[in-house]
Assembly symmetry: C2
Homo-oligomer: 457 residues x 2
């Protein structure tokens, strides 16, 4: 027996091969045809956890059609804190497929990065949690603290199962703190803890005109066109000035504290690099007034993700479609209430709906924003552990994304939630050519290991 860190260093190649195996499983939770792959990914993790000596390893089943939670624990450190480690094994769909340089489910290592759907979001980060624990169990024989794993398979589809499960407050997941490993660092080499997330309301807005598709020659000039109705509603929801026009939408939005704003100003943020290097865009848009980071972290947004309906194939089809559906989501900031936003949105859509068109709103998922406190030993130890591994002072940031489980674990279990993440801003989350920077995979393992040690002292 040596130390966990010796184990980490001698097993880097093995860890990489294991990660590749996990990434090869197309566990896409938004597509029902991948239900078997979802289970394969859960089984893969359960089998690794069992193999390294975790106990109570089990798949926690939900309702019919829900994806299992993977649970495991090691409780051999009485008197020491118990930390719940969270991640998710499901991934986003890979489309548009033709923009991938290597196939999304055939992991490919190119210049220190591993490319695959789920590389950073979140399989790479789940797997670093697993390996960090394995280092102690297999390299040293025991852990300095008690550990519980709770890994879900529905993060990309709203996480209904874990929400219901956590709300039941089962004894199995009792803990002193929860660690979420599903976020990113503010910049390469800059250890980062995320302290706030935006919420999300994701909807489908269907517009129906005539009963059936109509010929645009025969009926154009008299027929209501759902595509135009959607354009009109979308422009009514968010103007060209990027202001959201839904009455009451901004009423609960508060400004971050002066201290937080000052800390954000100190972050090494280069607007031009963000725009050109990271996004490949020619301009940044958004509300007038707030800075870019304020817009991303502390202002709500509304975005259209796609419109289904009509003719989109090669060539020309002169159809006025009977119906069209837009995917529209809103990001929420702290204090905004999803239920209230849904009501405001739905009733304003109704008001914006033009003559001859019937609209219907379907809410696919919703979660409030969350802000976590930075003043407790679990966050302090996390900042210290990351600082020791990365050799730089850990910064605190918010994120524009949404991790509903953060608020849920905090509210239901009443414990501090620590968001340590090792993704990079250019990791192409949810986009083609998603990647994970391999040095961060290995440093993530070490930082987690160091974190367990600090908490065990």
């Amino acid at each position: 027996m040596g130390t966990a860190f010796e184990y980490y260093h001698t097993n880097q190649g093995v860890f990489l091969e294991g990660l590749k195996d996990l990434l090869r499983i197309p566990s896409i939770s938004t597509l029902p045809e991948h239900r078997k792959d979802i289970r394969r990914a859960a089984d893969f993790l359960a089998s690794e956890l069992t193999g390294m000596g975790m106990q109570q390893v089990q798949l926690i089943e939900g309702k019919e059609g829900q994806n299992p939670l993977v649970y495991a624990e090691w409780m051999g450190a009485p008197g020491k804190p118990t930390v719940l480690l969270y991640g998710h094994y499901d991934v986003q769909p890979p489309d548009p497929l033709d923009e991938w340089k290597s196939p999304p489910f055939e992991p490919d290592v190119r210049s220190e990065n591993i490319y695959a759907r789920g590389a950073v979001d979140d399989k790479g980060q789940v797997y670093l949690l697993v390996k960090a624990v394995e280092g102690f169990l297999k390299g040293y024989g025991k852990l300095p603290i008690n550990i519980k794993f709770l890994v879900e398979g529905e993060e990309e589809v709203g996480g209904e199962h874990i929400e219901a499960y956590v709300k039941g407050r089962p004894a199995l997941i009792k803990c002193d703190a929860a660690v979420i490993c599903d976020t990113e660092m503010f910049a390469p080499e800059l250890p980062t803890i995320t302290t706030g997330l935006r919420g999300l309301v994701y909807t489908e807005l269907e517009a129906r005109g005539a009963e059936h598709d109509l010929h645009s020659g025969m009926y154009g000039g008299a027929a209501p066109n759902p595509m135009h109705a959607l354009a009109q509603i979308i422009m009514g929801l968010k103007g060209a000035d990027q202001k959201i026009r839904i009455p009451g939408f901004y009423k609960r939005v508060t400004k971050p504290s002066k201290a937080e704003l000052a800390a954000w100003k100190r972050l090494p943020f280069n607007e031009k690099k963000f725009m050109k290097g990271e996004m490949g865009a020619t301009a940044l848009v958004g509300e007038k007034g707030p800075t870019v980071l304020e817009r991303l972290w502390s202002r709500p947004t509304l975005e259209v993700h796609g419109i289904r309906g009509g003719f989109t194939g090669e060539g020309a089809k002169t159809v006025i479609p009977a119906a069209a559906t837009a995917k529209i989501s809103m990001r929420l900031v702290p204090e905004m209430e999803p239920k209230e936003v849904i009501k405001q949105y739905t009733s304003y859509v109704k008001k914006l709906t033009p003559k001859g068109i019937a609209t219907k709103v379907r809410v696919i998922s919703s979660a409030p924003a969350s802000v976590v406190s930075t003043e407790n030993r679990f966050i302090e130890a996390a900042a210290e552990a990351m600082q020791q591994v990365f050799k730089k002072k850990t910064v605190f940031m918010r994120s524009g994304g949404s991790i509903p489980i953060a608020g849920l674990l905090h509210d239901e279990l009443g414990v501090p939630v620590v968001m340590m993440g090792f993704g990079l801003p250019d990791d192409n989350l949810h986009a083609p050519n998603e990647k994970f920077h391999l040095p961060n995979f290995y440093r993530g393992i070490e930082a987690m290991g160091r974190y367990f040690e600090l908490l065990g002292q």
Copy 2:
């Protein structure tokens, strides 16, 4: 030997089986994967034309990748007029497939109608031309006039091949008049000749934002979203009041003559029946001022047919797409010049394009509107022939659709163009459950036969 009309009456069942065979061929010209079916449809017609005794039967090939024209002639009536019969054997794509009550390429007869893609547009009408001629050749031994067939396979994709061919003014298609059988009757039982068609400019408008898809959490609030840009441009092109905002767009639009407007007012048009019965809509939209028929026949329009890009699958994907493409077409009325309209449209799209977005317009097809004269023996005989068969006075109408070949044959061959058509307003042209009313198939054959006789007297 008897008469053509005896032949028509005794062969109704055979004609129906032949029509079904033609309808079974999925000759969709907009989809490259159906290239073989295109050729099968052309071969099918050539083989029928040969079998009934037409001469010079041939497939006229165009450039690489273009669909053949089917040509045939019977010139055994010296001193009598020569009439060129036009139709098309290609069809629109059948999507959305799930709205068909019977599969689009398995013709199904239900209560006097035959349902299939292409039933009325235009295979049923091409086939009635073929059978009208066959009646004379096989039932009577000869035709009362000279006949030429010119049937194309690219009507639904812009008709490049026939355009180039006709512009070459080959001796083969010299004639005294052209008959187009690809239009509809104003109402059931009401014999109709179409005297005007709208033109068409069909475009693809691509909007590009960032270089790659972006996560709407991480970038929402700063990233340009091509879906919103398209909504903004679409609303800029045509306002909620249905007025097209492109500068100069209406400048050449003229009002129909007082006589024409008066004739339209006399047509048996029921706005409520048109809206509810035919379209299944709850309101008619369009410019304030002109009547519905005026809007459909004598006013230009702009319609969006579909938007490609982003995420449109099941569930939720929080993507800000890098690019999105809208299919947008404009219907033109007489005097409007497609080239000028394309220029106006393209430069206005550029002006409407918001910051951070690059747009590109691709013109897929364009054709001017056309109005034909009603004062010549070929139209007069057509009106008389239809009146004799349908036992009602033939009416003259315009159509909101576009048949570019009408203007082309008129301008290049310098002959009258006669648009006799037998479709019905509820035939679901370009839509699911396209049909052809079988009594009109049979009456169409007889009306054509009677037309040939009248011209031969």
